[in-house]
Amino acid sequence: MTATVDTAALTAWVREFGRLIAAGRDLLTELDSAIGDADHGVNMDRGMTAVLAALAADPPTTPADVLKRTGMTLVSKVGGASGPLYGTAFLRMAAAAGAADALDAPGYAKVLRAGLDGVVARGKPAAGDKTMYDALAPAVDALDEALAAGRPLGEALRAALRAAEQGRDATIPMVARKGRASYLGERSAGHQDPGATSVTMLVSAAATVLGGD
């Protein structure tokens, strides 16, 4: 039985992501205080608040519409590193969603990988650079793997979440090579990356909202 991710489901995913960001705003800013400039929570919350308002004001009609408007709003409201990164990710997801009315599980996985590719295209992160990539890449890989092994979407998303969480936690000992944290050199070790933390919320939102098999 293939789960169907339609416009409503994607909207719910984005809304749940916004909720997690709002709830985690202070945590994200706190993490960014240690190795960045104390604004990641504020940035993401400003952006997601605008996204939710935009989606509520004028409900989207296709999956691509949800994703494109989320990306455009993030690009024009967030700024900083996370604005172009999340923005590009959602815009690439929208392109991957194409004209479909709904996505099946592999389709959703392809969309998420397109998002990851967007992050890579925009930020050129490599594994171990201590960025959002270190949580998102393992999550996307785990999702593909679980689906390839025939697992249903919900189970696959829970595996993706576990991978994201492990990737996020693995950023703690890393010495940053990208983003502001890289300026700290060795002093960046011992702190969890803010972007890896927020992107884990994105995966978590998917597991919660799209994971009811």
Binding site: D37, S76, P84, G123, K178, R180, Y183
Partner: protein
């Protein structure tokens, strides 16, 4: 930390209103958070657009005016502006000779200016060249990292490139001069206190009395290392030493020596530091051709300073001396 603000989330908008009130010769687009010189676009002149996170005042809006920038885009505190703003500024200052983006090397700034340039190229055909400043020797440069931060040299790039644009030189030439200033500039900074991002409401890091952070940037981030508070003479050594170790500043037509305050350090202390810097340069056989002392690129209410040196040539000095008329830098006009 007590701050003179209204709502923490409105600081940028409120300050832009104050700039508009205080400087009727500028035009402020409050919607897009852009400060323009009043007569932009100037036909036949390369337009200069800079911008970045707010909290570094007077950078960048304080440097808008004849002889310097045509527009400055203000992001949220310490958050680069978004592509929409940069595109709007770019379109509005294009006088037919193209537009130079002056971008400090931070991932966020670089990516947002990049996206703006991509969209501007696709949508409008305005010719855009970006110059990225990256002068902070506290950060090791490497192909595999984000590279060095853009700090103090940005002020001098904006002044000198602004003067070149004012002479109606072509875009490629203005960009070349901007790159030359950056390539010949090195900086390093120290913090004697943290700063407080208004929306965060408390200091970004704890710095006890008697301690300092060496090798800081301009976003309230901790430095490369913490060290016991030292004298001004020792601090000057800690800042100038790595700068001189990174580039040979002897010869040429001397340097522009810039001692910058981080926002909460009073001028009397900056002059104490300037004397120590001047003494080190004299001992090293480096001639100071011009100097600048004051808070020009700040980090909110952080105490501390940075030192920037730029190795000059005759042309750079002539452009430095050219008239400029902005809220924060003004001479000859």
């Amino acid at each position: 930390m007590n701050q003179l603000i209204n709502d923490p989330s409105n600081v940028v908008a409120d300050a832009l209103r104050g700039m508009a009130d205080a400087h009727p010769e500028l035009r402020v687009d409050h919607e897009n958070r852009i400060v323009f010189r009043g007569d932009a676009p100037v036909q036949g002149k390369v337009g200069l657009v800079s911008g970045g996170g707010s909290g570094h005042e007077p950078l960048h809006a304080g440097f808008v005016g004849p002889g310097m920038l045509d527009a400055a885009c203000a992001g949220e505190i310490f958050t680069s502006p978004v592509p929409d703003q940069i595109m709007a500024a770019t379109k509005a200052v294009d006088g037919g000779a193209g537009v130079l983006h002056i971008v400090k090397n931070y991932t966020g700034d670089v990516m947002n200016f990049e996206m703006a340039a991509e969209i501007a190229a696709a949508e409008t055909g305005v010719e855009v060249v970006a110059v990225v400043t990256d002068d902070d020797v506290a950060v090791q440069d490497s192909l595999y990292t984000a590279g060095r931060r853009g700090v103090g040299v940005t002020v001098l790039v904006e002044k000198i490139a602004g003067a070149a644009a004012g002479q109606h030189r072509p875009l490629a030439e203005v960009a070349d001069i901007a790159r030359r200033v950056n390539a010949n500039g090195r900086s390093m900074g120290v913090a004697l206190s943290s700063c407080t991002v208004p929306t965060a409401g408390k200091p970004t890091f704890d710095l006890p009395d008697g301690q300092m952070e060496v090798g800081i940037g301009i976003h309230g981030e901790p430095g490369r290392r913490r060290a016991p508070l030292a004298t001004a003479a020792e601090i000057a050594e800690m800042l100038v030493g790595p700068i001189l170790g990174d580039l040979d500043f002897t010869g040429g037509d001397g340097v522009i020596a810039f001692v910058n305050g981080m926002g909460a350090t009073p001028l009397i202390e900056l002059y104490v530091v300037y004397h120590e810097v001047a003494a080190i340069l004299a001992k090293a056989g480096i001639t100071v051709a011009r100097s600048l002392v004051g808070p020009y690129i700040t980090s909110l209410d952080m105490a501390g300073c940075s030192v920037t040196l730029v190795k000059t040539d005759d042309e750079m000095l002539r452009l430095w001396d050219a008239p400029v008329r902005t809220p924060a830098l003004r001479w000859g006009a």
